[in-house]
């Protein structure tokens, strides 16, 4: 008989902490190569079409930015939550809430057209995401409810609400009853950055700005310090005069605002209307992005691009090699698995204890 113990290391290596995402990516690539080999595909060609081919054409890099923008925006917000020990799992719902709130103008008041439409939409999108994120924050601070459960369950509420909207009150009257709103008019469309070469929209620039701002806040401002102190030890934070309840609200509101901004950017820039589903799970994939980026907004930019690549690579691999699209999800899952495993092993070590040794020790 033996037992496996996980023991906290007295010190953890700073070097390996920094390297952990790279180790995880390397292991993912290796595991992927093994997987492709088992499927009978040339692993080298498969990895090439997965991770390199999408980067060989300009239009495809545009597509990469389109995919990365919502992931980065959401993950940057989540980093504030996770650093402060607030487990917001419901960014997908806040994304939808932002998309819906931001669409009020183009859907309900399509006659409003002009330069002011877009800014109002973006602000409403952020407000929608914030309001939606305030619910789990309120429940946590007032009733001590587990925010993992409440934020996650609110995702389904948001999805069904959007579904109801586009089938009911917001349905396009000229759309043969199909569940979608009217197409946004041109002043409600987030413009493309460089139209001649591809369709990437300004959402990516917003994502970069958000990442820089939050990075500045976390590393250079008192509020960033407060977040980290309270996140590591609520008790120590209280001694310093920081309020955990206030911080919970702060983190959820920032995170909700950025998820909402991601939602309205996606709807306005990439989709151009509301549909029953406006996200292929960005809010959940962003959790992987946040951890792969070490909860550091600058790291998250890189991590967002990597995860975005798995979406595009899955498609490229389907065309050139006939590999199922499910492989993209497997890659995303493996990245998260390996990063969590690496992190765990950096902070903890595994000890295998055999029973006989233990009893012998007791006897002595």
């Amino acid at each position: 008989m033996m037992r496996i113990e996980i023991i906290r290391r007295p010190q953890h290596s700073a070097l390996f902490s920094a390297l952990s995402p790279f180790i995880a990516l390397l292991l993912t690539l290796l595991a992927g190569a093994v997987l492709f080999a088992i499927l009978g595909k040339n692993p080298v060609a498969a990895l090439y079409s997965y991770f390199v081919e999408p980067l060989t054409e300009i239009w495809s890099i545009h597509e990469l930015l389109i995919k990365a923008a919502p992931l980065i925006l959401i993950a940057v917000g989540l980093s504030v939550c996770f650093l402060s020990n607030n487990w917001n799992i419901g960014a997908e719902g806040q994304f939808i809430a932002g998309g819906v709130a931001g669409s009020i103008l183009p859907v309900v008041f399509p006659d409003f057209q002009g330069w002011y439409v877009l800014p109002v939409m973006l602000v409403l999108g952020m407000a929608g995401g914030m309001a939606y994120a305030a619910i789990p924050a309120l429940l946590k601070t007032r009733f001590n409810t587990n925010e993992i459960l409440t934020s996650l369950m609110l995702v389904y509420v948001a999805q069904l609400f959007l579904d109801w909207l586009v089938r009911g009150p917001w349905r396009n009257p000229q759309g043969y009853n199909f569940p979608e709103t009217i197409q946004f008019n041109s002043s409600a469309i987030l413009p493309e950055i460089w139209t001649a070469s591809g369709r990437a929209h300004w959402g990516f620039v917003l994502a970069l700005l958000a990442a820089l701002l939050v990075w500045f806040m976390l590393s250079r401002m008192l509020s960033g310090y407060e977040i980290k102190v309270l996140g590591r030890s609520a008790r120590a934070g209280r001694f310093a005069g920081f309020s955990a309840g206030r911080l919970t609200f702060f983190a959820f509101l920032i995170s909700g605002a950025l998820a909402g901004l991601a939602g309205i950017s996606e709807v306005s820039g990439a989709v151009g209307q509301l549909r029953p589903s406006i996200s292929p799970g960005y809010g959940f994939t962003a959790i992987i992005v946040a951890f792969l980026g070490r909860l550091n907004p600058l790291g998250i930019i890189a991590a967002g691009l990597v995860l975005a690549l798995t979406y595009l690579g899955g498609e490229a691999a389907q065309i050139s090699l006939g590999i199922s699209e499910k492989s993209a999800r497997i890659f995303q899952g493996m990245v998260l698995f390996f990063i969590l495993a690496s992190d765990t092993l950096i902070y903890y070590r595994i000890r295998i204890v055999s029973r006989s040794v233990e009893t012998a020790a007791k006897g002595a």
Binding site: F22, L25, L26, L29, N42, V44, A45, L47, Y48, S49, F51, V52, E53, E57, W59, S60, E63, I66, D163, R167, G168, Y176, N177, F178, P179, Q183, R199, E266, A270, V271, G272, Q273, R275, P276, S277, I278, P280, Y311, L312, E315, A316, Q318, I319, S320, L321, G322, S324, E325, K326
Partner: protein, 357 residues
């Protein structure tokens, strides 16, 4: 990491060039965008069968690619564009939600022909093709009313869009032509393909006392539940007999192959033109799987009904028909026009459900 990838790329570039270089230039590359996996044994499976039939019929003249489980919305546009950029000159997009992305990409690639299933927007290089599945639903309704002992059938719907509502209404009218008091209970799965939800819906319907199940979702789960519970069921989109050898009465089989072959040929010989077709039993797009697990007289009635629809003698939406709220829809002898059919968003009398609006 980047260096690693670049190194890998440099090392392997040759290998992948060899792969892409193998395509012959004179072959017509035909691309397909699927909403689900080809292994759903329903909607996508049938489109994939059509693709294979085309490959078989046209042999060396074509080469096909498909992208599976492409979400409707922002991703679809990229997927379609990728196929167009990869040299596909004919692209079939096989779900309603691909309509606007298809039209958008088509504007960028005027020399590529696009075929969009079940939509309504056409362009110089975008055709629309759709099938009168509801004709098969009418035949199923006739069978259901003959076979059901309790006079109530369960119907698993995907989304309350016109195509699905057409089916429910046609089923109801077919059943009422045999038994005017027949009822239909509907459960919405809110998904085209979700075996778990579909199975739950089927179980719930059986528990509510229905003894026939029909589905407008794409997995075989409802058929399997019906088989377990020893009631009868209709398949969807493909012949699902092997999932319910003693359960399936018949199934509406979407027969896309001939259409795909015809359109690919048209591109090859240069005669392709944009059109908007809405075809059914007559043209061979809707095929009924063999009538099984029913007495001979029911089978005979089903075959007769099918023949009448195929010949155009019987149109499923022919008055007198009342709407669910009791108001008149079609006067005696009046038939619904295609525009009404394609935008149907109300139930006929007898459907025991409130249509989600």
């Amino acid at each position: 990491m980047k260096k690693y990838i670049l190194g890998l790329a440099a090392g392997l570039g040759l290998a992948s060039l060899a792969v892409t270089g193998a395509f012959a230039a004179d072959k017509l590359k035909v691309g397909f965008i699927y909403i689900g996996p080809p292994g759903d044994f329903g909607w996508t499976y049938q489109h994939d069968q059509g693709r294979k039939e085309m490959e078989k019929a046209l042999g060396d003249q074509v080469e096909t690619t498909f992208l599976e489980s492409v979400p409707e919305g922002a991703d679809a546009e990229r997927s379609i564009e990728r196929l167009a950029r990869a040299g596909h000159k004919l692209i079939f997009t096989t779900s309603f939600g691909y309509m606007d992305p298809t039209v958008k990409v088509a504007q960028k690639f005027p020399d590529v022909k696009f075929e969009h299933a079940t939509g309504y927007k056409t362009a110089e290089n975008v055709s629309v093709y759709n099938s009168r599945f509801y004709e098969g639903r009418y035949v199923q309704g006739v069978i259901a009313a003959k076979m059901s002992k309790v006079g109530v059938a369960g119907y698993i719907g995907s989304f309350p869009i016109p195509e699905v509502v057409q089916g429910i209404n046609a089923f109801m009218l077919g059943a009422q032509s045999v038994n005017p008091d027949f009822k239909v209970k509907v459960i919405w799965a809110n998904s085209w393909f979700d075996p778990g939800k579909e199975a739950d819906a089927a179980k719930a319907l059986v528990d509510q006392g229905v003894d026939i199940i029909t589905q407008h979702t794409d997995s075989t789960a409802p058929m399997q539940v019906a088989a377990e519970r020893k009631i009868k069921a209709f398949g969807q989109a493909s012949d699902m007999i092997k999932f319910g050898p003693e359960t399936q009465l018949t199934s509406i089989v979407d027969n896309w192959g001939p259409y795909y072959i015809e359109r690919a040929k048209a591109v090859i010989d240069g005669s392709w033109k944009s059109h908007n077709v809405f075809e059914g039993m007559k043209e061979g797009l809707v095929v009924m799987a063999p009538y099984t697990n029913m007495p001979d007289d029911v089978k005979k009635l089903a075959e007769e009904t099918q023949a009448k629809i195929a010949s155009g003698e019987l149109k499923p939406f022919t008055g007198p028909v009342k709407k669910q709220d009791g108001s008149d829809w079609l006067k005696a002898g009046e038939t619904a026009d295609d525009k009404t059919i394609l935008s149907m968003n109300f139930y006929v009398a007898g459907v025991d459900d409130k249509l989600p609006q």
